[in-house]
Chain length 635, copies 2
Amino acid sequence: MTLRKPVTPTPLKRVSPVPTDIEIAQAATLKPIAQLAEEIGILPEELELYGPYKAKVKLSILERLKDVPNGQYIDVTAITPTPLGEGKTTTTVGLSQALGAHLGYSVFTCIRQPSQGPTFGIKGGAAGGGYSQVIPMEEFNLHLTGDIHAITAANNLLAAAIDARILHEAGATDEQLFNRLCPPDKNGKRRFAPGLLGRLRKLGIDKTDPNELTPEERSKLVRLDIDPTTITWRRVLDTSDRFLRGIVIGKGPEEAGFERETGFDITVASELMAILALTTSLRDMRERIGRMVVAVSRSGEPITAEDLGVAGALTVLMKDTIKPNLMQTLEGTPVFVHAGPFANIAHGNSSIIADQIALKLADFVVTESGFGSDIGMEKFFDIKCRYSGLLPSVVVLVATVRALKMHGGGPKVVAGKPLDPAYTDENLPLLKEGLANLIHHIHIVRKFGIPVVVAINRFHTDTPAELELIRDAAIQAGAEDAVVSRHWELGGEGAIELAEAVVRASQKPRKFQFLYPLEMSIKEKIETIAREIYGADGVDYSPEAEKQIEEYTRMGFDHLPICVAKTHLSLSADPNLKGVPKGFRLPVREIRASVGAGFLYPLIGKMSTMPGLPTRPAFFEIDIDPETEKIIGLS
Amino acid sequence: MTLRKPVTPTPLKRVSPVPTDIEIAQAATLKPIAQLAEEIGILPEELELYGPYKAKVKLSILERLKDVPNGQYIDVTAITPTPLGEGKTTTTVGLSQALGAHLGYSVFTCIRQPSQGPTFGIKGGAAGGGYSQVIPMEEFNLHLTGDIHAITAANNLLAAAIDARILHEAGATDEQLFNRLCPPDKNGKRRFAPGLLGRLRKLGIDKTDPNELTPEERSKLVRLDIDPTTITWRRVLDTSDRFLRGIVIGKGPEEAGFERETGFDITVASELMAILALTTSLRDMRERIGRMVVAVSRSGEPITAEDLGVAGALTVLMKDTIKPNLMQTLEGTPVFVHAGPFANIAHGNSSIIADQIALKLADFVVTESGFGSDIGMEKFFDIKCRYSGLLPSVVVLVATVRALKMHGGGPKVVAGKPLDPAYTDENLPLLKEGLANLIHHIHIVRKFGIPVVVAINRFHTDTPAELELIRDAAIQAGAEDAVVSRHWELGGEGAIELAEAVVRASQKPRKFQFLYPLEMSIKEKIETIAREIYGADGVDYSPEAEKQIEEYTRMGFDHLPICVAKTHLSLSADPNLKGVPKGFRLPVREIRASVGAGFLYPLIGKMSTMPGLPTRPAFFEIDIDPETEKIIGLS
């Protein structure tokens, strides 16, 4: 079955006990990224180096390899996690290392770029952990090649354009606006700037000489007449800054009369980040950016980035972000780190383009979707695979004894506090109580027609009887296999059995299907997800949500897929309900539209789109040695 | 005299009439940057490629070349400009192309990285113009290698840390704060995190075991007690967004009671940008970042980034920014594009580190300082050269017929409006009236003991009699030479005479001296600059400025050099006073301190630190061809 040559593995120099993540990463042997690119069949002219250990890959490679068959497409997801996470990225990397460095397959790992907010705030980095990591972890966790920064710049240029436009329109007649937006040159000749062409098209005007516009056409072209109360576009920063969640802008003396309430989100929660993750070409990205709706005019017309004349400039700012970033695992297998949309208000999956390229270069492409199968995986299938047309082969469902005991009724698990002994001593009755959550997630995956392999991410306190109990339940519930994995401690060697199970599962017949067709109404789509995935009895809509559904349907946005923004800590909308909650309804508070990215996102309860810093943020541990230039304290 | 080998020039394929800047740039032949690096003696291991045409140079090169003698150090400045600018960057690049591609000298150009704010807003790009440009101009004007973005990230992490710390301190007792900032580990043992070490040192505590602190020491360690009304640290974005000039933050429900007024500046106006430009090593940068004062405690103690425990993390975020970015001119000579501090509230010069490296690699290093000699050049000498210890050789003073006629009483010059015929027809009396401004600038340069060569940047409407008039006046006023230059139209070939004059001037004896010693009081320093550079009769201080001078003196900041924030459109504080204003006093409204960067900056009148977007920003012309990936409309 193997078509493509595997890479030359980098031998792992393990020590015991397992050191800190940054100690392992800094002690690792790095392959020059140009060498890795050559090993996997990327041509030198398709590679843009960013220093010796990271590079961007040009999209021209897709054209060159368009006739090569795709590899197997593996998605790693999880049961409903504890607030500590269950090791999904670590499993993704460990599985890849097993496939590529121990079983002789060609493999590619595709994961998200982390936000700097959590890296310097609460969570720390996201390059995997132990002996299953992406390196150099400092590059991974810091600026990488600047993609997130470019998104910040583009997002905020659009925000500045909206408020400036409202201000300038208010102070000018149609004629003045026309003369400013379409000024005559030295010879008195006018022409339409590129920034006006999109709006002309939208208005159905096909005149090429500005002088031939009727007064009414002129007015429509230059006056967007944005209703400031409808602006949904927020500014962004890739910093955890809670004081920017709610702000008043325009308090300067020259903006008097135009001040308004708004706020900043973290950059990874932006629509542009979702676009980067879902786009399939530069042309598609340009079009999606143009379609982004930022507000509504006083006459009820949706106002887009194209209307503001800034869509071309935003695409220019983001032109390099579209190229995936090549890195490597501790065992020398290739990784694409590309796009990092939030997993709640966005779809929480790395980019389509990285997966497309990886599937041409490797027999196995292992990617990860955010949170549990009810959130990230459902969106992987119904949004990401729908837009890409790529067919998934196998789902790996990560489970831990710890999380299952929590679902069985174990004491609360809190980040930064020691675990209760219920979690570290053998407790089969508690574990048994929690298995229903695992079984529910297996059923979710099976609904999409894809074989599922359960990866039991082993902690050193887990007992053989506990692990066996999970295994049996998983297989009985319909998993192809359930395998204990020790990749954190052992690297790829610890995930060999898991990898073998995944390879076997990838040869099983499958019949992929979406959960819902796009033609369903907005409400039908939401209710299908609520009932079939979350196990809800039904959906309740706030009056605001009802009104939004009506508006979006009127504007023609009802054909978009649905990206539910719901807590990941429960299958229900209440993070405190563990296991498999029954007898609940899904309360839809509000529905927002990411028309450019291409989805509607119902908000279920309060979703924070801007984290805060704790009293002692991660940055207290971080510093640099000015002589060796070595970073300390990044985790 | 030439010690070092010149590069292999790239032949210029000129056409006439001169096309647009981006057309010239996109038609240019680019040397692979690795090849250019090899030509100028940078080792492969000292280079970090960012794609094929830009690279960072590691600071280890300074150690390797420490015994190589420095080349000649040329600063390009200007007379008091019109709002259109007089072509200083273009002259800087053209002079370099002449020296390196036509006269066979080894040469290096060192200039600032432009802000994206003006690029997409009013001004457009800043890579030079015509046949004197830095290429690829798209890279130059967009993200380059991400230095400005890294500064944005670091600046805003510090801002978030300040407000979060105030909030967390308010809700906790000393004991709770101590337990959070210095928590016991699993074994009950406490240790000081790296983020606490700086504050411990500042408090004079040399204990290494947190348990040994007295209650009073604990309190001083963990409670900064910042007075929110004294916070001077603002957030930044590299976007022209006037609605962020004045904002209220903390309007979210969870920050109730802590809301306050503040604002965003453009990133290039930040203290971190000034630090990047003035630092001399990674250790020095780490120390300067730690020293940045962000607020004052309720007991009057200056609070620094070090006190907040975030200085190490900020340095980590900025660790790559310190490496200069290597690019090339249209004629294949090397360019460092590094740091871009604002020329009004900061010192407006590219980095010391780039100049230091360039001076080891080339016989002539041509750099540029912002605005006229009264602003950027004075700061080049009194701030930049003072911190670097580098000795300047020659100053090139750029003058135009247009600007001199304006100083002679010509009609107002406004960007975007056609020029009055007074500027395009020969008008010797008007020009003669304006020569006093040129003469004053020549005298400013001579005060520092450095030879000055006047570069008359020729426009096609200038007449031979006009040019001759300027030449004569310049030489009579003490310039070594005054040369007409046509580099915009002809590239390096058009600046050969200028280059020859610069080479001759560099052989002249010189006796460099600062304008003032650091030991002078704050007022003495300001008054020296006002009288001797601006020609003021004296200085008036607002009551606020008086109070600040007292405070800074009490805190020990009075030994810092002075960076006056004054209009560049007049030698005086009033932009409408052209020529050489007499009988005026300098009104100091306020004085701010950039303690980390290392200067005090008196504000003279209103200085905008955040530009706005016009009705028709530059972005209206910018787009990308999705097939060819070619950018259009960038200028």
